[in-house]
Symmetry: C2
Subunit: 423 residues, 2 copies
C-alpha cells in the first residue's frame, strides 16, 4: 500500500520544521517551493545593505533535506488548493501545469508586503521579502550614491543622497540604520564630489512609535538609538503617494531617489483559493489545530496563518519561532492521525523577541529581561549566529561580520544587472 502523501507548500521556517519533524514518519513528503532555497529571512536586510552575500543566508532546500529519504523537493509554484478534492494545482519551474493529490497538506506559503491597495507604488518603493528583492534594493542604494557623485545640479545631488524608508517595524528600522551606517561610515571616503555627511536617511512611520510590538520604554530606546546613527525619524507621518520623484506626506513632498517599503503584510494569494475565512491582510484564520474549517487534513502554518487560540487571545507572532512551533505541532498532529490518536493541543511558547538597529545597537524583550544598547546587540548577534549554526555558512558569515565590524567595510557592494541572455 502506498504511504500517505504529505504535501508541504513552502520551504521557509514553517514548511521545513514540519518536514524535518516527520523524518521518521511512515509517509512520503513532497516539499514544493518556487525558490530552490530556504532563506534565513531575519538577515535579509544585510544582503540588501551589502553586508552579506545571498549564499550566506540561504541554503538549497535540497541540501537541507539531503539525509531525509522520505522527502522530495519540487521547484514549482502552487496556484490553488482544492481542500474538498485534496489536490493542489501547480506550475512547474518550466511553465507546465500539473495537479498533485495529497493526504495531508501543510500550506506554509508565507506572506509578503502590502501596499494597502496602492500596488503601483511597488515600482518606486520596492519591499524586502526575497533574495531578488534584496539584490534590487542593494542595487538602488549603491546606484544612488554613484548618481549623487555625478549629479549636475545641487537639487539632483540632494535627491540622490536622500533615502526614505517607509514603515517603522523591525525591517524598516534595520534598513534605515544600515543605510545610515553605509552613508556616514562605509562610503565616507569613496566619493570626491558629493559630501556624504549631508546625506539624509528618513524613516517614516504612520503610527505614533517605532517597533510597536515592544514595551514603550524599549520603543523609546530604539528611537533614540536609530537617531544617534543619523536617521531622521518621523512618526505619525502618513504616506499619501509615492512617485518617481519621492514621497508625498499629505501636502508635503519629500524628494528622494531611493524609497524603500517596509510597511504592511499580505498573505500569499494562494490562501484565497482555500475557500475559508481570511483576515484583512489575506491570512488564513486557522482552527486550534492549525487546520481549516471543515478540512482537518488541510493545515496552514507560519506567516500565512493567523492563530488566535492562545490563552490570552494574542495572535502567534509572524516570526521564525511562531512558524517553527506551528510546523512541529502540525507534524505531531499528522503522526497522531496516522496512529489513530486524538490530536494534541498547540501551546505557543514565546521565547522573547529582539530587534537590531545598527552597530552595537539593538533592543531585546525576553519577558523577564528588557534591555537595549550593546547588551541587546550582543544578545542579538549571539542568537543569530547560533541560529545560523544549522547553516553551513556560519564560519564565513562570522568572518565577514568580524571584518565588517572592525573596518566598517561592506563586503558585497556590487551592482550588477541581469544579462540580456535571460530566457
Amino acid at each position: 500500500m502506498a504511504r500517505p502523501h504529505v504535501l508541504v507548500v513552502g520551504g521557509g521556517f514553517g514548511g521545513l520544521a514540519t518536514t524535518q519533524a516527520l523524518r521518521r514518519a511512515n509517509v512520503d513528503i513532497t516539499v514544493v517551493d518556487r525558490c530552490n532555497h530556504h532563506l534565513f529571512q531575519p538577515l535579509l536586510y544585510q544582503v540588501a545593505t551589502a553586508s552579506l552575500s545571498p549564499s550566506d543566508i540561504a541554503e538549497p532546500i535540497r541540501s537541507v533535506l539531503r539525509g531525509q529519504d522520505n522527502a522530495k523537493v519540487r521547484l514549482a509554484e502552487v496556484l490553488s488548493v482544492d481542500p474538498a478534492r485534496k489536490v493542489v494545482h501547480l506550475r512547474d519551474d518550466d511553465g507546465t501545469e500539473d495537479e498533485v493529490g495529497y493526504d495531508k497538506l501543510v500550506l506554509a506559503a508565507g506572506a509578503s508586503h502590502s501596499y494597502f491597495g496602492n500596488d503601483e507604488w511597488a515600482t518606486h518603493a520596492p519591499g524586502l521579502k526575497t533574495l531578488g528583492d534584496a539584490l534590487e534594493i542593494r542595487r538602488r542604494i549603491l546606484e544612488a550614491f554613484e548618481r549623487a557623485e555625478w549629479a549636475e545640479t545641487d537639487e539632483d545631488r540632494r535627491a540622490h543622497s536622500t533615502f526614505v524608508v517607509i514603515g517603522g517595524g523591525p525591517t524598516g528600522v534595520e534598513l534605515a540604520g544600515a543605510i545610515a551606517e553605509i552613508a556616514f561610515w562605509t562610503l565616507r571616503k569613496d566619493f570626491r564630489n558629493v559630501d556624504l555627511s549631508k546625506a539624509r536617511v528618513v524613516l517614516l512611520e504612520g503610527g505614533p512609535g517605532l517597533l510597536t510590538t515592544y514595551p514603550p520604554e524599549l520603543q523609546e530606546r530604539a528611537r533614540k538609538q536609530v537617531e544617534r546613527l543619523g536617521v531622521e525619524v518621523r512618526l505619525n507621518a502618513r504616506v499619501t503617494n509615492v512617485d518617481e520623484d519621492g514621497v508625498w506626506i499629505g501636502e508635503e513632498h519629500l524628494r528622494a531617489a531611493t524609497v524603500l517599503w517596509a510597511a504592511g503584510v499580505k498573505g500569499e494569494p494562494v490562501a484565497q483559493t482555500l475557500g475559508t475565512e481570511l483576515d484583512r491582510a489575506g491570512r488564513v484564520k486557522v482552527l486550534p489545530d492549525c487546520s481549516i474549517e471543515g478540512h482537518p487534513d488541510t493545515f496552514v502554518v507560519g506567516d500565512l496563518a493567523v492563530y488566535t487560540h492562545t490563552p490570552d487571545g494574542k495572535p502567534v507572532p509572524g516570526v521564525c519561532q511562531g512558524a517553527m512551533q506551528m510546523g512541529w505541532y502540525v507534524a505531531r498532529c499528522i503522526e497522531d492521525d496516522l496512529a489513530g490518536r486524538p490530536r494534541g493541543t498547540f501551546r505557543f511558547q514565546d521565547k522573547g523577541s529582539m530587534a537590531t538597529i545598527g552597530r552595537t545597537k539593538a533592543i531585546a524583550d525576553l519577558g523577564f529581561l528588557r534591555v537595549g544598547g550593546l547588551v541587546a546587540w550582543l544578545l542579538w548577534v549571539f542568537v543569530h549566529v547560533l541560529f545560523l549554526v544549522t547553516f553551513r555558512n556560519r564560519v564565513v558569515v562570522m568572518v565577514k561580520w568580524a571584518w565588517a565590524w572592525v573596518t566598517y567595510e561592506r563586503a558585497s557592494r556590487l551592482i550588477w544587472r541581469p544579462t540580456e541572455h535571460t530566457r
Copy 2:
C-alpha cells in the same frame, strides 16, 4: 593651471594597473566603467559553478581607489572615442549622454566572447565574461538538475542532465571540470528521481587539442585529467548550429538543455570608433608604445590590444599579467611625456601560465618547469590566493575553498531571478 586629465576606460586589470601606477603623478584621473566593480576574472567560472559568491571575486572600483586622491570613478559606458579631438562620448548610468575631453586616454575596455557571426546562438549558449553572465550560467546549471528530477520522459531527463561546453580553452576546461564535479559529487545525494551518475558533460573543441597555447605534453595531460573527472572530450568537433534543443555538429544532433559558450574572443565595439587598424577579432593593433597610429596620446591596453612588437613576434597573451604589464608601461609613458623625456620600451615578461581542471588537477607551464596534476594544482591555488591578497575577501574565499574541498559542497547553489520591480 589645470592638471592633465588622464581618462582610463575600464576598471579591469589593465585600467587599474595604469591608474594605480599614476598615484603619485601630477594628473587628474577619471576611471570610467559601466560596472562598479573590478572583477577577478580568473575565478569567474567558480561563481558560475556555485563555489564562490560574486562578492568574493569582485571589489568596488571605488574602494580599490579609495586612498588615491587624484582618481575619480564614474559609472558610465563609453560609446565612442574621437582621438583627433581628444574626446570620448559616454552614457552615464542614468541614461544621459555626455562628452568628456582628455589629455591622455587609456582604453582598457577589454574583450568578450565571439559567436563568429552567429549572435543568435547567445540565447541558447551564454558565454562567461561578467558577473551577470556567471549568475545566469549558474541558474541554468542548477535549474537543469531540478528539471531532470521532475522530467516526465526518459528522453527529457537525459536532455536536462546533459551539459555541453563549447570551446576547449581555459574557460571551457574549467567549466566542464566544475560541472562534472557538481553532477558526480556535490549533488549526488540530493536527488531522488534522477540518477546523476548517468549525467553527461561534453566538452566540444573544433581544433585538434585542448588548451592549445600549452606544450603538447601538457595538452595531453589536461585531456586525461578532465576525462578522469567524467567529462567526454570531443576534439575536431565543429559546431554548426545551436538551438534550444541542443547542439548540431555537422549532421549529428546532441540533445542538451544546457549549452555554454567558451569559444572565441571579440574586442569591445568601442574599438571600431577609433578609426585605426583592428585584427579579425576586433582588437586594436597598437604601436610599440601601446598608442595608436597618429595619436600618441591615445593608448590601448589589455585584452582590447594586440601587441606583436615582442622579440619573437608572439603577441602578448590576453591574460592578467599581459594587461597589468601594459598598464604599468603606459603609466610610465605618461610620466615620461609630462617630464619631457622620451618614452621607454615595453618588454613583456612572461611569468608562465597555468590552467586548472578540477579538484587536485591542473597544468602549469613556467618555462623552466612544466607540471601537471596535484603539484600544478597546488601551485595554481597558491598563486590565485596570493593574487586575491589584494582583495579584502581573501579570508572568506579561503574558508569557502577549504570547506568545499573537504566536503565537496558548493556554497552558492542558489537560483534566483530578477524581481518584477526592476526599473
